[in-house]
């Protein structure tokens, strides 16, 4: 007995000393506080440095078929080896790409006529208007069962929603009814359902990229199954990619790209490393120039290190409150919950990775209005933590319901980080709202999505990132019976404002902007329809010699076409 106790102690001491020494040595290389800048490097600086980037990604590429893609990893590589009518530039603005200048837009803002510039697929064939027609029809065709096709096109491109409905009901449909037409090889006519204020973003999105019909049909099931079974028309092409489960792939500069002269980078080698600590170790060992997103426990040890690049993502996490639940249908109860937990402390102490408390649901640093101001300028904080106010609302709410205590289920994630956050929120709510019992249910992501779909929850911790650069990507979520609402929020004033922003105000940027700001105010300040928690910050390690990396808020994560490698480390 004595012996085993002793050896246990010994082991404990050994392990802890090893772990401690591992933690300490992380600070060895801490540098000054300047973040890596994204400025251009001059030609001289890059002349003698091999223009090759080694980077890590945290997942395989689930698909390279632009029509089937549904995640940011797919979008990132599809964007770097492909191109659509528009393309996000270095400043994150959609600019004409395959479109030759701005399109001709009809009086009612519904018909867009694009002239295409001369460009080639990597097999030498020209990219034509027919390639767009083919790809878009394929994306909406129920037989393809693309997740993003109907999501991006429904209600926007004429005829899209009807095709999906018919397909689901197993009725006849005709993909030729989709509002896209090739007038000739070089002219594409797109008809929208109604004016769309963010149309440029739409046409820059990978789902709307062209595909070469002959090639896709010839390859059949093998299309996009590996680097050889793909065609490229972007700044890079894939030299090596063995398929969706490949953990290493190589992109090389595409000499046939129309703007190839502006691309300096010759080669990108990507390896998949799923463990954040391992990625950091690989970076420290000089195996890579760039890591994937760092898990938040690593971030503090690189605080102030010039090799860590930090930015605010337009991703907001919130607690959805199911308003079909009798208690949560009560506005005072909702206000009590939305005000009843300290989000500043959560962001600072629990997350501790640069994320900020969210008193809003349209994120900061995401969209700029016609007046040049950030969306958050007008109503910065719409619902803040206030224990006293929360308690008042809580007591009123309970009285209105005629009860003195409540038990509420809380649906959250099953990762370590999620459990920590959820436990904190539970504790805060139960402390600040006497008589409340929060029942935590920690489930995998796939289960949470299913229960969200079925509205089988009371409170649900969830997040949202945008798919286009307009506040509508957030505000249209909460329209009555909107596809992603799924919490029974309904306010006719809100609906009116957002429907106007999506419809008649599409051509009036100022009024559109104001309508959305007002809608957000109503939803949070008046209705407390949602309890915002935090806006996420992203952190990666990047070799300071890598310049010109474009980081995007939606669709693709990164664009490498302006990357230059200056002095090798």
């Amino acid at each position: 007995m004595k012996k085993s106790k002793f050896s246990f102690l010994l082991i404990l001491t050994l392990v802890f000393s090893l772990i401690l020494s591992a933690c300490n040595s992380g600070d060895d290389n801490a540098g000054d506080k300047e973040p890596a800048d994204k400025d251009d490097a001059t030609g001289e600086e890059v002349a003698n440095v091999p223009q090759e980037l080694n980077m890590l990604d945290s997942s395989e590429i689930p698909t390279m078929d632009s029509v089937l893609a549904e995640g940011s990893t797919s979008f990132t590589y599809i964007n770097n080896v492909g191109e659509g009518l528009y393309r996000l530039d270095q400043d994150h603005k959609p600019v004409p790409a395959l479109a030759e200048g701005e399109p001709e837009i009809s009086e009612d803002q519904k018909v867009y006529t694009f002239k295409l510039r001369d460009s080639k697929w990597s097999n030498g064939e020209p990219v034509t208007a027919h390639d767009f027609v083919f790809a878009w029809r394929r994306a909406i065709d129920p037989a393809t069962a693309s997740p993003y096709g109907p999501y991006m096109m429904g209600g926007k491109i004429k005829g899209a929603a009807e095709i999906t409905e018919a397909g689901a009901a197993k009725k006849e449909y005709n993909v030729e009814d989709l509002g896209v037409k090739a007038i000739d090889d070089k002219t594409l006519e797109v008809t929208l359902e109604k004016p769309v204020v963010y149309w440029e973003d739409l046409f820059a999105f990978p789902t709307f990229y062209p595909q070469n019909e002959k090639f896709v049909t010839e390859k059949g099931d093998a299309f996009a199954s590996n680097a050889e079974n793909l065609l490229y028309n972007g700044p890079f092409k894939m030299e090596k990619w063995e398929g969706t489960d490949a953990t290493e792939w190589v992109l090389v500069k595409n000499p046939d790209y129309h703007s190839a002269d502006d691309v300096t980078l010759e080669k990108i080698t990507v390896n998949v490393v799923k463990d954040s600590n391992s990625a950091v170790n690989a970076f420290e060992a000089g195996e890579t120039d760039m890591t994937g997103l760092l898990s938040s426990d690593i971030v503090p040890s690189y605080e102030g290190d010039e090799r860590m690049l930090t930015w605010m993502e337009p991703v907001v996490f919130w607690i959805k409150m199911n308003q079909k639940n009798e208690a949560l249908a009560n506005v005072n109860i909702r206000k009590a919950i939305a005000m009843g937990f300290n989000k500043e402390d959560l962001a600072k102490s629990i997350l501790n990775n640069g994320s900020i408390a969210a008193n809003f649901f349209v994120p900061k640093d995401f969209v700029t209005g016609p007046n040049g101001e950030d969306f958050r300028e007008k109503h910065g904080d719409l619902i803040v933590f206030n224990a006293e106010e929360a308690k008042k609302h809580w007591e009123t709410g309970l009285k209105e319901l005629g009860v003195d205590k409540l038990e509420i289920r809380y649906l959250g994630g099953d990762t370590e980080a999620a459990k920590k956050t959820d436990a904190y929120i539970k504790n805060q709510l139960e402390t600040n709202l006497p008589g409340l019992t929060v029942k935590l249910e920690s489930v995998p992501f796939a289960v949470r999505l299913e229960r969200d779909n079925a509205m089988d929850y009371d409170l649900q911790f969830a997040g949202w990132g945008p798919d286009y650069g307009n506040a509508l990507s957030f505000t249209d979520l909460w329209i009555t019976d909107g596809g992603s609402n799924r919490m029974g929020y309904s306010n006719s004033k809100y609906d009116e404002l957002i429907k106007a922003a999506q419809g008649e105000l599409a051509t009036d940027p100022e009024k559109n902007w104001e309508a959305q700001q007002e809608a957000e105010r109503i939803m949070l300040e008046e209705d407390a329809g949602l309890a915002p928690v935090y806006q996420r910050s992203a952190n990666i390690l990047l070799n300071p010699g890598v310049k010109g990396l474009a980081i995007y808020n939606y669709g693709p994560d990164y664009n490498f076409q302006w990357v230059k490698i200056t002095e090798a480390e």
Partner: protein
């Protein structure tokens, strides 16, 4: 012997069929959606997606289809890896996992057996205590701790071996060591106990009396008998190591099956879950048969078919 083998093989197929069916029905009970963008799909789109993967069919129809395809060796198409057949995914990933598992098993068992033997031969000396210490260490500390420490100190700090990836033999060394801690511990503990027992038995005393050398006693007479319980444990352990370790593969960025299998469960990638379960089950029943045959070779007292020769 042949009759025995035939019977065993028939039972193996029956076992596999039951496992395949059980997995299928268990999976129908798992909650969760297999579609990554489920929060963005409208009801109509959801119908279309379900139809694509045959999930709109009644369960008995899905089951019949699944068993039918399974008999033809078709495990279906993965949901998470678009349009990739499960068989392709599995067999590509199986290679690294098997190699790593086999190396860890080989290295671990040899080291463990040696540790156990020396501990038994030098019972209650520092040799015994340090061997026990290593065994306790290997058994009680999870291998991701070893993996992390090895990666940081031996890989990053000392730079002796590659930090991660899977590109050649030198890349396999750190993960092999990390993964072999458990077999070392198990082999050492079993070996020590068995050896002490065997060393006390009459025939060893006889061997000693006959003047057999130290090594002859240890490796020729004692080892063989002490191996029997070890083989029982090591068979299944080998399978669990060779079918991939989630954490080791994740930490060393090895394209193996373990990580993929666990992920397929969390994202409800039904075809991959079923394919991998059936594959693992098949490996298990085969190895159990091999272990039973090995008993006969190691210890002639054990007869497989009961009858006389």
């Amino acid at each position: 012997m042949a009759k025995y083998l035939l019977k065993r093989v028939l039972y193996m197929f029956l076992t596999l069929f039951i496992i395949a069916s059980l997995t299928f029905f268990l999976m129908k009970i798992i909650p969760g959606t297999p579609f990554a963008s489920a929060n963005k799909l409208g009801p109509a789109q959801m119908e279309i997606m379900k139809a694509k993967y045959g999930l709109d069919q009644p369960v008995p129809v899905q089951y019949a289809k699944y068993i039918g395809n399974l008999l033809q060796g078709d495990l279906g198409i993965s949901f998470q890896f678009n349009n990739t057949p499960v068989t392709d995914l599995m067999f590509k990933r199986l290679g690294p996992s098997m190699q790593l598992g086999a190396q860890a098993m080989l290295f671990g068992t040899i080291v463990g057996i040696l540790l156990g033997i020396f501990a038994a031969l030098r019972q209650n000396t520092w040799v015994d205590y340090s061997s026990t210490f290593v065994a306790v260490l290997g058994k009680s500390i999870p291998n991701f701790v070893f993996a992390g420490l090895l990666q940081y100190f031996v890989g990053v700090k000392l730079g002796w071996f590659p930090v991660l990836f899977w590109r050649g033999f030198e890349y396999t060394i750190l993960p092999t060591i990390a993964l072999s801690m458990l077999p070392i511990a198990i082999a050492a503990r079993f070996m020590r106990t068995e050896m002490i027992e065997v060393l006390g038995s009459d025939y060893i005393t006889l061997a000693k009396a006959k003047g057999a050398s130290f090594f002859e006693i240890a490796f020729k007479h004692a080892l063989r008998n002490a191996m029997i319980p070890l083989v029982t444990v090591l068979g299944p352990l080998a399978i669990s190591l060779m079918t991939g370790s989630l954490v080791i593969e994740k930490i060393f960025a090895i394209p193996g099956l373990g990580e993929q299998f666990v992920k397929s469960i969390t994202v409800n990638d039904y075809p991959v879950i079923m394919g991998t379960t059936v594959l693992f089950a098949a490996l298990f029943v085969v190895i159990i048969l091999v272990v039973d045959i090995l008993y006969g070779i190691i210890d002639p007292r054990i007869r497989l078919s009961g009858g006389k020769k």
